[in-house]
Subunit: 399 residues, 2 copies
């Protein structure tokens, strides 16, 4: 048997799951604090639901196949197409429909760092209203999430497709402008030249770009986001965002410390739900790069205080005749709400039991030998500092 995960697919072992679960729980709490509720949709959809939505390039990356019943089906490609289907399938959903969705999406991409074939999308969207408060809430959620995750320095770049239209309707020109955060002005000018624009047209584009101002809608979005407490919002006329479907404000977050680049992106897309087969409803939202956020937190050790174990205490066993004492202790600690593992084999040497706790990153070990039992105490060892202290059972239960 090939004992490997597929390329681009990953196992999450217990230590990683602790970080992921913590990230997800922080994000959910912020989403729900703004009235967003969770939605989950199936892993498989009719191929018809998925196809013809995002162009040929996307379709090449979709996992499509025929099921046992002869149906053409496909694995979820993103969370937006299923959202459009949900809006069409349940016309009685009260509007605005504010939902978040944290589920895997599947794309047969070239694998590279932090890009996976099964990756978790984390989307929040408000469907059904054009009011700038909806856009502002997306910015406020983004800001609150980044602070809650512990990112100190970040910028939420905002712009609007409406005002970019005043420069050009050409999406190929916009694509070049979008590269201004990675390339120099001269490089972008050369690219535009290569695309057939003459020097004066290029100059005009840059002059217009430098003089762009937010329109009324975007001004109101920024004003309301500020009132909601969003921080570090910066109008940036050079922000374009890749996708064609945005119709109004667009957003992107850049985390500058630690320097990890863009981890959220979104905007208003008032036509898309309809284009995707849903009803004619405006929408605004953002996606958060969950995998990237989790990878970065682990790689840069951003949460040094988070122990990568869900178990808090390993109760060791001294000898076969004292096994019942350890079992009883583990039950008492469990009843007091603690996550406790009882070492299962009383014949295992103590050193090996300690090694086991270490290997599993369990932060504390409880020791209950004849000496402790006589003194009616439990010895607790802090596996990090190596410190040991004796505690009464009541102390330990309330610890």
């Amino acid at each position: 048997m090939s004992v490997q995960t597929l390329k681009g697919f990953r196992d999450f072992l217990p230590g990683q799951m602790v970080i992921r679960n913590r990230v997800i729980s922080i994000l959910k709490k912020v989403f729900e604090s703004y009235g967003f509720s969770e939605l989950a949709t199936p892993t498989l959809e009719y191929a018809e639901v998925l196809k013809g939505k995002y162009g040929e390039e996307a379709e090449k990356m979709m996992y499509l196949f025929t099921d046992q019943g002869g149906r053409e089906v496909g694995l979820k490609y993103d969370m937006t197409v299923p959202l459009a289907r949900v809006m069409a399938q349940y016309p009685d959903l009260p509007l605005p429909f504010k939902r978040y969705q944290i589920q895997p999406a599947f794309r047969a991409e070239n694998t590279q760092k932090s890009r996976y074939r099964e990756f978790y999308q984390c989307d929040i969207d408000t469907v059904g209203i054009t009011s700038p408060i909806a856009d502002a809430e997306i910015l406020a959620v983004t800001s609150d999430c980044l602070f809650a995750l512990g990112f100190k320095n970040f910028i939420i770049r905002v712009n609007s497709r409406q005002i970019l239209k005043s420069i050009t309707d050409s999406s190929t020109v916009l694509q070049s402008i979008d590269k201004l955060d990675k390339k120099t002005v001269d490089e972008v000018k050369q690219e535009l030249q290569a695309k057939g624009l003459d020097a004066s047209a290029i100059q005009e584009i840059f002059t217009k770009l430098d003089n762009l101002k937010p329109d009324d809608h975007l001004n109101e979005v920024i004003h309301l986001a500020d009132k909601l407490g969003a921080k570090n919002i910066r109008f940036d006329p050079r922000l374009v965002r890749g996708l064609d479907y945005y119709t109004g404000p667009i957003f992107e977050t850049v985390v500058t410390e630690p320097k990890i680049g863009s981890i959220t992106g979104g905007g208003r897309y008032d036509q898309l739900i309809k284009t995707l087969g849903g009803p004619d409803l405006p929408a605004v939202g953002t996606t958060l790069g969950l995998d990237r956020i989790c990878d970065v937190i682990q790689e840069l050790n951003l949460w040094p205080d988070v122990i990568p174990a869900s178990t808090q205490i390993l109760v060791t066993v001294f000898s076969p005749d004292l096994f019942d004492n350890s079992l009883e202790l583990s039950t008492q600690l469990r009843r007091s709400g603690k996550a406790v593992e009882l070492y299962p084999d009383p014949r295992t040497k103590f050193e090996k039991q300690m090694k086991y706790a270490n290997a599993k990153s369990i932060p504390f070990v409880a020791i209950l030998g004849p000496e402790e039992i006589e003194k009616k105490v439990i010895k607790i060892k802090d596996m990090n500092s190596g410190e040991q202290k004796e505690m009464l059972i009541d102390q330990l239960v309330n610890w």
Copy 2:
């Protein structure tokens, strides 16, 4: 576009997600209290990993296909095969490896009530030890979970494949015995007759069955489970469980009030991990029927006090000129840790805002009109009882 979910696949709308999330969080808490940690594995595996493991019937139900890179792949069929792969792929995992896993599995089954083609499996297993404490912990976890979910009357039936062996080695005979909870003794006797057994052989089987006693291992499991606080464990010689691979104790839970039948099942399977392509390691575990548990809680309204909404308060808006007041109130409540939705459109009639709160099952509504602003209070309406009361902002924040 076909705006339908595939047959056997489901959307979970926000109200349902609240119940599911609560069930999952209760189960996780119990699992972790016994030192089980979470594992997640990919949705797709090499077909080679999945095939040839559970027989032809199972294979017919597997979603298998060829991906863009020409690889034969398949959707997860259960959590046990991936567990075996994980044990083989990471030989350095400390043993015992105690993991839980809550993820979707996929089977192209005939759809029927509470049987889905994408369903959530919820498995806990201890890999690497033969000690009865591992089996006992599975029983204790089961018992704790059922109490924590609020099921009052249940029986955890236990038996052992080891002792069933003393009656017969024939799995077709065992399959008939397994039906004794649904059929009468006479019906089962007829079935055995049809399978070619004569009357005296059948009589012998039933006499032996009635005289079965737990062996030493099972006695120790029951004794330890009791010490761990497990309740309602009953030795039942007529319990067989369908699957062939069990090698020792077997378990099944029957919930008698509400009358919902079997919702957990498991046992010891000391050969299976190796058979599935993993290393030669003993294991014991159980699966909890998460979808069935969630369906039953909703259908029978077992949690009448759980409000099917994650949002706690809808802050209504009285008029466009008072929108900022409502926005500010929503921010203050949010900062105090509450899940708050601000109604986004100040031109919407108050009645419609109340209808919206009702449709979304939001339990409380905050009202902030000119009268309230002058009196420096907020009116809070309980949407369930209809009661209204005025509160100072400080009271509300600490509410």
